[in-house]
């Protein structure tokens, strides 16, 4: 079934929409949630909350591409759950990814109290635009999808050591970019 047909089912308020959505995008949604939350019970809850969120959002929304929309909702819900219960869910892939970013972005004095949320959003998208496609792939897979380095290396036909070194360089570039934008001092 195409995404357009699935969205059509949501508009018809047919419960079959959830079944078809799960069939087509369920594994991607669960992967995003699992990487952040690190355990099956929380993942399952998050996937169900995501489908409820989609049910409430379509209509009126008619998202394109559907998978990106669904994964984004899953990620937002998973990160909310992660931050509300961090002690219980240490050692997830997201935890490791945050450790890596925190290590670089905590250097120096932060001016986060002074900047506005919108500026941060603009800055991260501006930074991604400066990266070549390969580096952007590595950054997104590690820090947005929270994939393990080993999996990323397989996807990029590279070695874990090489991906680790390249991610280190990208994090350093991010720090310099945010400093230049006045968001880190």
């Amino acid at each position: 079934m195409t995404d357009t047909e699935i969205i059509g089912l949501f508009f018809e308020r047919s419960e079959q929409a959830i079944t078809e959505l799960d069939k087509k995008h369920g594994s991607a949604v669960a992967r995003v949630a699992r990487n952040i939350l690190g355990n099956e019970q929380d993942t399952e809850e998050c996937v169900n909350d995501t489908y409820l969120g989609i049910w409430n959002a379509i209509p009126p929304h008619r998202p394109s591409p559907l998978r990106t929309f669904v994964c984004r909702i899953a990620r937002n819900l998973a990160t909310k759950k992660y931050h509300s219960n961090t002690a219980a869910i240490r050692n997830s892939q997201y935890d490791l990814a945050l450790d890596e970013l925190e290590e670089v972005l905590s250097n120096g004095d932060s001016v986060e109290e002074r900047y506005e949320a919108k500026e941060l959003g603009t800055a991260i998208n501006g930074f991604l635009a400066t990266l070549n496609p390969s580096d952007r792939f590595l950054f997104m897979r590690r820090y947005w999808y929270s994939d393990p380095v080993k999996d990323i290396a397989e996807m990029a036909h590279s070695t874990t050591n090489s991906v680790t070194v390249r991610l280190f360089r990208i994090r350093e570039k991010l720090r310099l970019y945010l400093e230049k934008e006045g968001l880190l001092v």
Partner: protein
């Protein structure tokens, strides 16, 4: 920056980047009007040849032959083979009467990877449409454990976002419904190819390509005989050129550059380099050196006779070997390596054609 703030920042990333990175696509190069003109000329020649062959062959055989030759010419144009006098390129003879199976189109050796372009058929429309969500492609060398990744070949100027867009582009550009043919690129590490040749005791190795569609469909095509395409390279020796970075107050010795039409290996030396390129490296101490390595790859310029300049961009890998750090860079379309007139980094002239 607090962890919550970092999460907020990551949650603000745009849909285009989320969709773009669902699947690995290493090269994305913009097309040019020059390329379009070139394609038009190629198409006219192909049409003339087609008219002759349609008389000699049946229509089905013609459709298959046509898709092989058309794809060959598209690839040659996309890779900028002719205008940049690339010799590390092989164009294979297209069989006139073979109606299915695996057909070698062309290949380029970028120094580290041999990119082998092939057609496989028959591939049904349903099987083709399963990529990338539920289908994949792979290559292997028969009689060995050596194998790797293959992907549908798309025009390099395409910029795609999302699985559906990728599938649509594959169906439009890499798949030909009439002849049920899919065009693929096999990424074959040159070392793997040499290892397979040594294991089998032959120069040419039997290449197979595999289609995996869903849980129940897996088919193999070939084998066909594949040899290593000769590498084309130019070596620049910079003696003991030293670049001093004032901001970081550090010196880096740029030993040389190994250039191919599709890749570059910058060779650099600096204090403590060996220790930084191990898994146990002190990342904090490595930071400034990493920035300097990037500077060499990104800010150094290869200058051509018309005054245009080319940057090799950031390194994909940076192993420490033979007493130097090798910064491996790669790009999509060829450059003319014999045309390089000057290599500069800031005010430092590393090499000049005198």
């Amino acid at each position: 920056m607090k962890r919550e703030t970092i999460t907020f920042m990551l949650n603000s990333i745009g849909d285009e980047y989320i969709g773009e990175t669902e699947v690995f696509r290493p090269y994305s190069v913009q097309g040019s009007p020059e390329r379009t003109d070139h394609m038009k000329k190629r198409r006219i020649i192909t049409l003339l040849l087609a008219a002759v062959l349609m008389l000699a062959l049946g229509i089905t055989a013609y459709a298959v032959w046509n898709i092989h030759t058309e794809r060959q010419q598209q690839l040659k144009s996309d890779l900028k083979i002719e205008e940049n006098n690339v010799t590390s390129y092989t164009e294979y003879d297209v069989p006139e009467e073979q109606e299915g199976g695996l057909v070698l189109l062309s290949s380029v050796n970028d120094g580290q990877v041999q990119h082998v372009y092939v057609n496989i058929s028959p591939v049904t429309k349903e099987e083709a449409a399963r990529f990338p969500a539920d289908g994949s492609f792979a290559w292997s060398i028969a009689g060995t454990e050596i194998g790797g990744f293959a992907a549908p070949q798309l025009p390099v100027e395409l910029s795609l976002s999302g699985e559906e867009a990728i599938r649509d582009a594959v169906m439009e550009n890499a798949y030909d419904e009439e002849s049920q043919t899919m065009t693929l690129q096999c990424y074959i590490d040159v070392k793997f190819l040499e290892k397979a040749a040594a294991e089998l005791g032959t120069e040419a190795v039997p290449l197979q390509v595999h289609l995996i569609a869903g849980e129940n469909t897996a088919r193999s095509f070939g084998p066909v005989s594949l040899s290593l395409t000769e590498k084309q390279s130019r070596h620049f020796d910079f003696g003991h050129a030293v670049y001093h970075d004032e901001e970081l107050d550090k010196d880096i010795e740029i030993v040389g550059l190994e250039l191919t039409p599709f890749s570059a290996v910058w060779k650099v030396r600096y204090e403590g380099a060996a220790a930084f390129h191990t898994p146990e490296a002190d990342w904090e101490a490595y930071q400034p050196w990493s920035m300097l390595e990037d500077k060499v790859c990104i800010e150094a310029k290869l200058v051509f006779p018309d005054g245009s300049a080319f940057s090799t961009s950031g390194a994909m890998t940076c192993p420490y070997e033979d007493g130097v750090v090798k910064l491996n860079c790669a790009w999509g379309s060829a450059i003319n390596i014999e045309d390089v007139q000057k290599i500069i980094l800031g005010d430092l002239v590393l090499w000049e054609n005198k």
